[in-house]
């Protein structure tokens, strides 16, 4: 099918909603639902629609397979893909979670203003580059034996509180309170342990980063919610962290993809794409993967928490800010599967939510939102490209009603890494960003070029789409000042 033929089959519902009908492909159990402006829809590569329709064929999928406005093709699921499965009838698929289990974002507020930080931005970022290991081959800052690494897998951020890497309040400010229940280290291979044991407290590479940001002038959209989230003025400095479970999670995902590849025959499951390998959630293979995935997810929460500890130390050293004055606004996972209760068609039902390049966005009043935010909705952190800026949003009742409490995760690529490198050299991009007032420390210049702003979709259009749909509410727009690129 050509792009035109595919687009003809997609039915427009309104300005921001599109349906990929269940007749698009044999075997679709539900339709696909795409949230996008016409421009964003046309920017999606054809594979997004193919992959979305494959997801719609999975056993146990409910309501519709969703693609968020930042969607681009991935492996199995598209990135920006969301699917809720009936846990009794349905499957779990590592392809709906991604290789980087619990890749996610966290946002930290500081009491500092632009005038305090800008003159020392190079010193700050270079110091962070020394104290937060980034890139390949840099060991983490936590020395662990195997038993202690298993404690991290089981306890998540609680381990950090007990070992001096977190304050108690940090637990409240992390999705699932920093620990996915059910983690069982016995379900994790020795290989995964060997790959990840030295990586706790490392940023990694690719599109992972640590960014010092300011609140965009005139871009506090909802003052009351912003205040609840700890943002009080437009020149306030905040810090954003984007990374995941490192080699540990990558190995867990790779291991179970092979397990599921073999298990499908046993459960008489066929899928159109090997990356969609899956098993019934209640089967032994499905349960084993979930328990191993929870281990990787908890390691990722700890990884980001240890990085926060390093950020607190850096601000304390350079600006003499007390460490406890750097507050974690929230930490969100955007590659994960979770058991959640959702209400639709008048009934409360448990669902196994798959979010791959998609973020949980629970609305006001939800019992899983920590008390301090329950009135305004869950904080949602959306990372844009290094050049363009990022957003802090709040989940809404609209998300609960329409997307099983889910939203986008970032701006989403439109250009391949190879093409981006052809368009610009890393050194030139670094110079250009310097002129724009953004200091970048990169471990690799070619890696930097891959992350150029033009390789991504327009973050404002992506965020506005779901704001206008009533799925997430804009609270604050953030602008980069300094970036440590992994």
């Amino acid at each position: 099918m050509t792009s035109e033929e595919i687009l003809k089959k997609i039915k427009q519902i309104d300005e921001f909603r599109w349906e990929l009908p269940a007749t698009f492909k044999d075997g679709m159990r539900v339709p696909g639902r795409i949230f996008a402006t016409e421009k964003l829809l046309k920017q999606m590569d054809d594979r997004v629609f193919d992959q979305l329709s494959n997801v719609a064929c999975l056993r146990g999928i409910q309501k519709y397979a969703m693609a968020m406005p930042d969607a681009h093709s991935g492996y199995g699921f598209p990135i920006g893909g969301v699917a809720g499965m009936d846990p009794k009838e349905g499957v779990i698929s590592p392809g709906g979670i991604g290789f980087d289990i619990n890749c996610g974002m966290r946002l930290i507020t500081t009491p500092l203003k632009v005038k305090d930080v800008q003159p020392k931005i190079k010193e700050l970022i270079d110091h962070l580059a020394e104290t937060v290991p980034a890139g390949v081959g840099r060991e983490g800052i936590v020395d662990l034996d195997k038993d202690e690494f298993k404690n991290i897998m089981k306890q998540g951020v609680k381990w950090c509180v007990e070992n001096g890497y977190a304050y108690k309040d940090d637990l409240n400010s992390t999705e699932s309170y920093g620990c996915i229940e059910g983690a069982d280290p016995e379900k994790v291979s020795e290989k995964a342990i060997k790959r990840g044991i030295d990586q706790v407290g490392t940023l990694g590479s690719g599109n992972h980063y640590l960014e010092v940001q300011m609140v965009n002038p005139g871009a506090i959209y909802d003052e009351e919610t912003a205040r609840k989230f700890g943002i009080t003025s437009t020149d306030q400095i905040v810090v954003m962290v984007h990374c995941g479970s490192r080699g540990f999670g990558h190995q867990v995902a790779s291991d179970y993809l092979k397990v599921f590849d073999k298990a499908m025959e046993k459960y008489k499951i066929t899928v159109r794409d090997r990356e969609l390998a899956c098993a019934p959630f209640e089967s032994s293979e499905g349960q084993d993967y979930y328990k191993a995935m929870a281990c990787a997810a908890n390691m990722a929460f700890v990884n980001r928490q240890v990085i926060l500890h390093q950020v607190r130390k850096a601000f304390n050293k350079i600006f003499e800010v007390p460490m406890e004055d750097l507050n974690l606004v929230y930490d969100v996972a955007h590659n994960i599967a979770k058991l959640e209760t959702h209400k639709w068609e008048g009934k409360k039902r448990q669902l196994l939510m798959h979010r791959k390049g998609a973020t949980r966005a629970f609305g006001p009043g939800h019992e899983e939102i920590p008390e301090q935010y329950r009135e305004v909705g869950q904080p949602v952190i959306i990372g844009g490209s290094m050049e363009t800026g990022s957003f802090l949003l709040a989940g809404t009742q609209g998300a609960m009603d329409e997307t099983f409490g889910s939203t986008m995760h970032g701006s989403g690529r439109t250009m391949s890494r190879t093409q981006a490198k052809k368009e610009i050299k890393g050194e030139k991009l670094q110079q250009r960003m310097k002129k724009e007032g953004i200091y970048v420390h990169a471990t690799s210049m070619s890696g930097l070029a891959e992350e150029a702003g033009f390789a991504y979709k327009d973050i404002d259009e992506v965020v506005n789409t779901l704001d206008l749909c009533g799925v997430t509410k804009k609270v604050v727009r953030l602008k980069p000042l300094g970036n440590l690129k992994g």
Binding site: G74, S205, R246, H250, D261, R274
Partner: protein
């Protein structure tokens, strides 16, 4: 041609590897994975690893490439030379390279995984060809 990188995936790395026989295909695909991760010209050959796999050739190749990604993280080992013997669904591969030295080596990409996306190993009229997509 031993291998060529392709611009067919939005966020990641893809390549086709070739070989007149399966052994050569394995060697060239291994080199392509190495070259996607590091500048192999700057690697020494002071470290040696012998890897063995069993199964259908397509699965052995995938397992072999996964092992290279695993050794990158677990032992910071990168290889530039491969010698592969493949017979009766068994493979023995000797890999030569060196431990990562950040003062000497330039890392290109931190590969997360060898995917099954478009993955295939097939016979061609000249020998063998594999398509591999790496998640980075």
């Amino acid at each position: 041609m031993k291998y060529e990188f392709l611009d067919i995936v939005v966020a990641d790395i893809a390549f086709d590897a070739y070989g007149e026989n399966l052994g050569e295909l394995f060697e060239n695909a291994g080199e392509a994975v190495s070259a996607s991760m590091i500048d192999i010209d700057k690697l020494d050959t002071d470290e040696r690893k012998k890897l063995e796999f069993e199964g259908e050739p397509e699965e052995m190749l995938h397992d072999f490439l996964c092992e290279l990604v695993f050794l990158k993280d677990s032992e910071q080992l990168f290889f530039k030379e491969y010698q592969a013997q493949i017979k009766d669904n068994k493979s023995k591969i000797t890999c030569k390279g060196s431990k990562l030295d950040l003062t000497k080596h330039e890392v290109r990409n931190d590969v997360k995984a060898v995917t099954y996306h478009e993955y295939k190993l097939e016979r061609t009229h000249k020998g063998w060809k594999a398509r591999v997509v790496l998640d980075v």
